[in-house]
Symmetry: C2
DNA sequence: ATTAGCACTCTCCTTGATAGAGTGCTAATT
DNA sequence: AATTAGCACTCTATCAAGGAGAGTGCTAAT
């Protein structure tokens, strides 16, 4: 692949910028006028023809303007987009909002989704932080009604799981508390999978209780179909390529299908990465429903300990600069919050 | 208001049925043909003219067919719609799905939202069951990291609240457990607001801890901005009156605004009630953004003890029969689940 | 009371003509 | 050798005009 001249790079950038703004194929003359270029439209035309030849631009039909191809966007994101940050003012405001808030994971996620949606003007997706290898720190068993039990697990990372279930028999709260305390002590520092090994160290009743709760224990932390927080759907509904057409519903259906979403977010490896931020343009072949969409994703948290994912999903012609900087900033901020939350 | 003849009632029903199906104003001739009426189009025309006169039908312009007015729908829902149930087969399948599932409130709500959306082919809204007057049954305080505390409240109804916060000093887990046990015992059967009154009965350290957690205690259960489960947004996106127009976004923005939603669901008193199910047609004046929408709502649970809300939101020309029967069935089913959950 | 018949109205779709934006190519200019 | 002015050509979007279709209201006949 031959490389682009500086002027071609500039023109590609301008075409993308203009097309992002208007959603209409952009012509040589309008480019010259709108950006006060020191070139004639004929020259621009020649360059655009070259870029089209190379596969970075596309013409809906002869005698129409040009719009960027997926490859055009990829080149732009990986080569031309210089890293920008959100304005300092904005960053401060956002940080404030997070720190002002009680240390409540649910609230944080909600706020993150809301901020991300507003900044990127696309759909935002945020998953709660999840421990990568679960280590139990504290266990509580609480009788709620009859044989129904509430189990609460505090993990080494500081986050909490709770789970209801029914026992085969009724146990007193005293018995349950004793067992929970015993398990807590014995399982100190053990990984979830290894908790069975403590059985010999417990008294008889505790063993019976442990047997009942083991499936719950492991199941709860293992697949952990993590909840996905979402916001800003009205943003993308307003975009011309989604209003009215069939295409919008396709993408939305994907968002309503939890399992899809989970898969989508966990595959954040695909696509080109820029400073920890992954950009998936036009579904990259893997996602038929997302052919008209792009995704900007990042992980956050403490790698190896506790991590989550956040990102935005929008039309291919979204503003990558804005999205990437928003995602980058928020992933940094959330990482910070997660780790100070642990250290505090 | 003069009352309708039987024939007028039938014709109104047919017009509504047809308009629900096609979203196009329906004319006399097409009515006669489509439903094989034993009448001429002229007669039907006269009757339709009368219904239009009375305000139950509307003509977009002279020489167009008729569509129902809001009043037409109200009359239909309150007077003409005979109560139907979901098919027995369907009811059984749905019940099975619920009972097959672990007693997990979060899962139930998700399933309820999904089923409701599928049955009604509209947007479904479900709130988790909430105690109407909060009575504490069991309290746990768990140290997670340093001064950070996890507080868990089990309410008399059996449901659970958890909350993180930081204390001013570090306390040992033993101290916290002792205090929690003391408070649990002393506060037995007390309403949340009256919990301050137990302070004199505690030892000194417990008093200090109690002081720190009282704001958290009351605040957590009071406003309880209940989480709303939602599903089926793609259903309504497909409807012609929402595709493309500005109107869709207006309604969706409302759905993304949590506070609005809460307000909306709690005002379930407005509108005509049919067997515990409330129907709000065209926003009933109160909701500007929902002028094009109707809502079918019901409460579920044990009145006075623990209740939640569920409903569907769709275009005015939704199928009220289907929506109402789905909402009615699910509210009954959830009520049952909630109360057996308590009795179990 | 019902209906057949008819004149009239309004929308929607098709057709044809036109303006506008854009292209590619060639020849002139720097 | 790169740039640009000029020109012929292409394709779309828009608008007006005309006709088909669906519907209405009214009157007179059944």
């Amino acid at each position: 692949m031959e490389s682009l001249s500086d002027r071609q790079k500039m023109l590609l950038t301008l075409v993308i910028h203009e097309y992002t703004r208007t959603a209409v194929p952009v012509g040589s003359q309008s480019l010259v006028e709108h950006y006060h270029l020191d070139l004639s439209s004929a020259t621009v035309r020649n360059e655009l023809a070259a870029l089209t030849e190379m596969g970075y631009l596309r013409q809906p039909h002869t005698s129409a303007g040009r719009s960027p191809t997926e490859d055009g966007y990829r080149y732009f994101v990986s080569q031309l987009l210089q890293q920008t940050d959100l304005p300092a003012e904005t960053r401060r405001t956002i940080s404030h909002q997070f720190y002002q808030m009680r240390n409540d994971s649910d609230q944080w996620m909600r706020l993150a989704a809301s901020v991300l949606a507003n900044q990127s003007r696309a759909v935002s997706l945020v998953t709660a932080p999840r421990p990568e290898n679960a280590v139990l720190k504290h266990l509580e068993l609480i009788s709620t009604r009859g044989r129904q039990i509430l189990m609460i697990m505090v993990m080494a990372g500081g986050e909490v799981h709770q789970k209801f279930f029914s026992m085969n028999e009724v146990y007193s709260q005293e018995q349950l508390s004793t067992t929970a305390a015993a398990i807590t002590q014995a399982a100190q520092g053990l990984r979830m999978e290894d908790i069975v090994t403590i059985r010999p160290y417990l008294d008889e009743t505790s063993q019976i209780i442990l047997n009942s709760i083991i499936p719950e224990l492991t199941q709860t932390t293992q697949p952990a179909l993590s909840e996905v927080y979402m916001d800003g759907m009205t943003n993308v509904l307003a975009e011309p390529e989604f209003s009215g057409s069939e295409e919008a519903r396709r993408a939305f259906r994907l968002l309503e299908e939890r399992s899809m979403l989970d898969d989508l977010l966990s595959r954040s490896v695909v696509g080109s990465a820029v400073g920890g931020v992954h950009v998936i343009i036009g579904g990259e072949g893997a996602w038929e429903e997302l052919r008209q969409c792009s995704i900007v994703l990042a992980r956050y948290g403490l790698p190896g300990q506790i991590t989550g994912t956040l990102g935005v999903l929008g039309p291919i012609r979204m503003s990558y600069g804005r999205s990437i900087s928003a995602v980058r900033f928020l992933s940094g901020l959330l990482s910070e919050l997660v780790s100070t939350g642990l250290a505090d």
